[in-house]
């Protein structure tokens, strides 16, 4: 018994709260008396919030138009038919006429929507080179392997910007014309094509490569544009702050959508007479119809939408809050009944004893 030789009490366990599992502890019990008021309060709060959300969602106006033209109803069907089975499709223009009986409360935003387009397909999603897009010259010349088959052009030149996402950049364009008086001339409504991308994307994540001799075109010398593009990347816009990799259309497109039906911001309408919204009158949207969607069974839509504090029109949140709030109150009542019944039972039991 060698261990008994040690000093008496040496083996005695520490008498601390932790070792004896007697740490002071808060032992909450979600009893009915706490939970019931909570249920009712939460229910009421949710219903209030839900009503607010619902009404502000209802207050948001949306105007959408499917210009795919595959049903032959719209005048874009000519373009759709022309582009059928031809790659690249020929340039084609069509228009959408609509009239607003009253002011379309603004600020108004112009979106386009694609359906059945899998931007979230894994092979598609990884097909990009963020280093190249951040303006790294070495990456410009040597696009990442993930970009294949859009890594090198047929001539063997590196593609900039490489990858499937960039290659499939949405290239329809819209212009909005307003006819104030019937029979009067159409006036072009200015569309603000800037400020549509995330601030951090536009300012940090996407950078043009360093200029060569003050020219962006020279910086991209020795690279090829993606095969589907008609223009090289440095020609996307005449505005030097909106061309190359920092073209906002391009930046918006490069943020891949979560679902196969998605909307992307095209322009903001916030200038001149249109800052408060679109006044009543007849409108025409001139559409340059380039983008082939019928090949994959998709649709393209053009959407005018106003925006509130909660974003675009979305009745889901409001309805969900209303449902959960009502459920809370309903359950509160059920609980109350159960609680009272148990209380009674206990009282009876106590009486018996």
């Amino acid at each position: 018994m060698t261990w008994s030789a040690t000093a008496r009490g040496a083996h005695q366990p520490d008498n601390t709260a932790f070792t004896q599992q007697r740490l002071p502890a808060w032992q909450p019990l979600l009893s009915a008396s706490i939970a019931l008021p909570l249920f009712f309060c939460a229910g009421l709060a949710f219903i209030g919030l839900g009503l607010g959300l619902y009404y502000s969602s209802n207050g948001i106006k949306e105007l959408e138009y499917d210009y795919t033209g595959d049903l032959g109803t719209s005048n874009c069907s000519v373009c759709a038919a022309a582009g059928q089975g031809r790659s690249p499709p020929p340039r084609c223009s069509c228009a959408w006429y609509f009239s607003l009986p009253e002011l379309f409360q603004g600020p108004v935003y112009l979106y386009y929507e694609l359906t059945n387009f899998y931007q979230n397909y894994r092979r598609y999603g990884v097909s990009r080179d963020d280093e190249q897009l951040s303006g790294l010259p070495s990456a410009l010349r040597h696009p990442a392997n993930e970009c294949a088959p859009y890594q090198l052009s047929a001539a063997g030149l590196p593609i900039a910007p490489c990858g499937a996402i960039a290659n499939s950049l949405f290239n329809d364009s819209f212009s909005l014309w307003h006819q104030r008086r019937a029979g009067g001339p159409y006036v072009e409504v200015p569309l603000d094509r800037t400020g549509i991308a995330w601030w951090t994307d536009y300012h940090v994540k996407f950078r043009n490569p360093p200029l060569v001799n003050g020219s962006l075109a020279l910086a991209f010398q020795g690279t090829a544009p993606p095969p589907n593009w008609h223009r090289p990347v440095y020609d996307l816009s005449t505005d030097p702050n909106n061309t190359g990799f920092i073209n906002q259309d391009f930046v918006v497109w490069m943020r891949t959508a979560a679902l196969p039906t998605f909307r992307k911001l095209y322009a903001r309408i916030r200038q001149g007479n249109y800052s408060t919204g679109l006044p009543r009158g007849a409108y025409r949207v001139n559409i340059t119809y380039n983008y082939p969607v019928r090949a994959f069974g998709g649709h393209k839509l053009i959407i005018f939408s106003s925006i509130s504090w909660m974003g675009g029109k979305n009745p889901f949140l409001g309805i969900a809050y209303l449902v959960v709030g009502s459920l809370c109150i309903l359950m509160g009542f059920v609980m109350l009944v159960v609680y009272i019944r148990y209380q009674d039972q206990n009282d009876e039991d106590e009486d018996e004893e």
Partner: protein, 818 residues
């Protein structure tokens, strides 16, 4: 290697707890879910891809290599990719956490100061940390008697010399000095020094026994011979030579062994004393002496040496000599010693009974002794009807087996009449029905278990098992160590494979300790073999109560919750990822960023559950020890049965669905921000992930009944860490990353009011059923508790009068049966 230790040793095998077996069963279910998911996705992928524009739309062309690869190969790699994508559903990190929980958790046993014993200056010892939770699952307790239920320390109560009773100090010295010279007791075999008042046996030196008398003088006796103890004679003797040259023989032994060998006229008074002492529950020991003339001694000496040196039949020869020598003695008197029951042994057994455990006493002792101990420690109540299956009831006859058969069938009939229902309701039935106790001894047991391998013996066995299962208490006496293990094995293999626990203190208990699911060693006086071979060792039997009722219960609840929680949190982690495949063309697109995927189990959700599984006390320790019935609530692995498992799985499925579709519907809009900008797929995943982390952590918070500062720290800390990490991870362009997917995603996400509202709502919806359930449970628990306290109050009035914790036993040879 023919030592008793070696012969009784059994191979040590790996012990695995019932919880671990449940984990494996769950794993198989989840593996099946994983395979199903992967198979479903692969199948649907190829169905979906059968439309050519889905397979390879113009905007998303394959490389030449991809086009050329074999379809079968592609399907296989797709299947594997899905497996990789969903593999988080198998909670690998759970194994690490479980091990940590067990290892760290076991410290609480060794740290418990209630297990600390002043006498031996030691606390509990944990030899394995694998079985903590098994302590909460025990169905059968097998306990040794001597040293486990009793102290194994003989305390002198009284003696009678020449028919006069002496008690207390002064009388004692007087009494002894009156008789024929100084007569110290010694029990050389046990090396226990009997200190009889005034006379102290100092020790043996150079063959002289030294005794200090009441005048503090040392008297020396030359030890000539020791006539060793054996269980047939049931006595032992020494032959000594006094300083004056007289040769004396002192003999001690059981009354039945000594009385026939002394002159008849001396017996009567002493006999009466011995009988009264036995009734009072003391171990009695008779002492006799005789003077041996020098001539006689010469002869005896020669005979003894001859017998001792005999090469053949030495034992028989020695026995014969002993038999010759130990005759015509003069009775000195008898002593009564008490082997006291251990402190609170009876209370512990009562608590174990109340907890629904079946307690079996396995002892090497003879039946009468063991029986009285069992009464004393309330294993048998006075109302318990005893069924005896012993050599006495069966008798030494030719028709042994027939008689045994008769008895067995008779008992079974009796019991079946009493408990017509199945064994499940037995626990409740105990309180209402007549209680039965079974007594069986070793030889009968071997008759039942080992006799010829014909059909009738199997039949015996099944009848015997039936009887055993219906008895509240079973006493097995005259057991050889391996028989103890045999019994444990028999019970272990019963239907429903009950969890067995063995507790013992001696080397003879080792095989039983090793055989049972949980082995507990008592750090007793019989050496350390039991404690060393055990899974846990405690100083005293009474510690078993807290060990099982409090520690075992808590460990079980903790680990069961931990296991369920792990499966739960991984299922609701992966389910949205699975659902997402339906919206991304089954392309194995991960919903969450890689950092989130890896850190979810390691950093964001690991510590709260670890802290929970170490600190949770859903019921107070004091309440657990005070109310043994609570132990029944978790018996039969109750928290890891199919019901709770399905509950957790459905909860996880519900929450995963809410996470995904909540976010899905949230995204059915042009924008979530007031500046009209649009979110992408990584924001979608991050919203789901944020809701997920908060929900699973808050779910644990809802389950936590015992909030120490550590719980607060890890729960709120984990959530804070998640938010901090997300900002950090998205705040920097990481040079080593190929894709800057998460850049400012989290911050941008939080700039939207809708997202905040949605996150809050989804967390609330996910937890809503749980909150409802908890409130409902609490309403019921409160009323139940009130009823309970009323019942307790009425119970305490009618508790049974405590039986005197004494042993009705006579001198026995048990310490020599190893």
């Amino acid at each position: 290697m023919e030592t008793k230790m070696a012969l009784n040793y059994q191979g040590k095998s790996q012990k695995r707890s019932a919880v671990e077996k449940s984990i494996n069963a769950f794993l198989i279910v989840y593996l099946f879910i994983l395979l199903t998911k992967a198979a479903v996705c692969t199948t649907l992928k190829y169905v979906w891809q059968s439309t050519p524009y889905n397979d390879e739309p113009w905007y998303n062309q394959k490389t030449q290599k991809e086009r050329e690869s074999l379809k079968v190969l592609k399907m296989f790699t797709d299947f594997l990719s899905f497996m990789v994508l969903f593999n988080f559903i198998i909670p690998v990190s759970m194994y690490v956490t479980v091990e940590m929980q067990k290892f760290l958790g076991s410290f609480f046993i060794s740290w418990d100061k209630d297990f600390y014993d002043e006498e031996i200056n030691e606390g509990a010892l944990v030899n394995t940390s694998d079985l903590n939770e098994e302590l909460g699952q025990v169905d059968y307790v097998f306990t040794d008697k001597t040293g486990t239920l009793t102290e194994n320390s003989m305390e002198f109560i009284e003696c009678c010399i020449d028919g006069h009773k002496y008690k207390g100090v002064t009388q004692e010295t007087d009494g002894l000095s009156q008789t024929d010279g100084p007569l110290p007791y010694f029990d050389k075999a046990d090396k226990v020094t009997f200190s009889v008042y005034g006379f102290t046996f100092v020790g043996i030196r150079n063959g002289y026994m030294r005794v200090e008398n009441q005048r503090k003088e040392i008297e020396e006796y030359e030890l000539l011979h020791t006539l060793n103890f054996d269980s047939v004679r049931r006595r032992m003797s020494v032959i000594v030579k006094t300083q004056s040259g007289d040769i004396l023989l002192f003999c001690k032994g059981a009354d039945s062994a000594v009385f026939p060998r002394v002159q008849n006229h001396e017996i009567e008074l002493t006999k009466a004393h011995v009988e009264r002492n036995a009734m009072d529950g003391y171990r009695t020991l008779c002492v006799a002496f005789k003077e041996i003339a020098p001539d006689d001694y010469e002869r005896i000496n020669r005979q003894l040496i001859e017998a001792k040196l005999a090469l053949q039949d030495r034992e028989e020869k020695l026995e014969k000599v002993f038999d010759d020598v130990e005759t015509n003695m003069n009775l000195i008197g008898a002593t009564a010693v008490e082997d006291k029951l251990q402190d609170q042994a009876a209370e512990t057994i009562e608590a174990l009974h109340a907890a629904g455990l079946k307690v079996w006493v396995l002892t090497g002792d003879k039946m009468e002794t063991a029986k009285s101990t069992c009464y004393a420690c309330r294993l048998f109540q006075t109302s318990t009807e005893l069924l005896e299956l012993t050599t006495k009831t069966i008798e030494e006859s030719e028709r042994k087996e027939d008689r045994l058969h008769e008895l067995l069938t008779e008992y079974r009939k009796k019991l079946l009449r009493e408990f017509p229902k199945s064994t499940r309701s037995l626990k409740k039935a105990w309180t209402e029905h007549q209680e039965y106790g079974l007594i069986i001894d070793g030889s009968t047991l071997s008759l039942i278990l080992n006799s010829s391998q014909d059909s009738s013996s199997n039949n015996y066995k099944s009848i015997f098992v039936q009887i055993c299962m219906k008895c509240t208490a079973v006493l097995c006496c005259r057991m050889a160590p391996l028989q103890k293990a045999q019994i444990v094995r028999m019970v272990k293999n019963l239907k429903g494979s009950p969890i067995t626990l063995s507790i013992g203190d001696g080397a003879n208990d080792v095989s039983m300790i090793l055989e049972s699911h949980v082995g507990i060693g008592i750090k007793g006086k019989e050496g350390r073999q039991a404690a060393r071979n055990s899974d846990y060792s405690v100083p005293k039997f009474k510690h078993l109560k807290k060990l099982l009722l409090a520690h075992g219960h808590l460990y079980y609840v903790r680990i069961a919750h931990l296991v369920q929680y792990f499966f739960y949190k991984n299922l609701c982690f992966i389910l949205p990822q699975f659902l997402y495949q339906f919206f991304c063309g089954f392309s194995q697109q991960p919903l969450y960023d890689a950092a989130y995927l890896t850190m979810y189990n390691i950093c964001f959700t690991s510590l709260p559950i670890l802290a929970y599984s170490l600190l949770e006390q859903h019921i107070n320790i004091d309440t657990l020890t005070a109310d043994p019935r609570l132990y029944m609530k978790i018996s039969g692995n109750a928290m890891l049965q199919l019901g709770p498992f399905l509950y957790w799985t459905f909860l996880a499925a519900f929450e995963g669905t809410v996470f995904f579709f909540g976010t899905y519907f949230l995204f059915q809009t042009s924008s979530l921000e007031e500046n009209a900008k649009v979110y992408g797929n990584w924001t979608f995943g991050t919203i789901v992930f944020t809701v997920l982390v908060f929900t699973v952590t808050l779910k644990l918070a809802l389950d936590t009944r015992f909030w120490t500062w550590i719980n607060h720290f890890v729960i709120w800390g984990s959530l804070a860490f998640y938010v901090f990490f997300s900002f950090f991870w998205g705040g920097i362009i990481w040079p080593f990353l190929k894709q800057q997917r998460m850049y400012f995603v989290f911050a941008q996400m939080l700039s939207s009011v809708s997202t905040w509202l949605a996150i809050f709502l989804l967390i609330f919806i996910s937890l809503f059923p749980e909150i409802l359930l908890i409130v409902l449970k609490n309403v019921r628990r409160r009323s139940a508790r009130r009823n309970l306290s009323c019942k307790k109050a009425s119970d305490s009035l009618s508790t049974r009068p405590s039986v005197r914790p004494l042993l009705l036993r006579t001198f026995s040879d048990e310490s020599n049966i190893l």
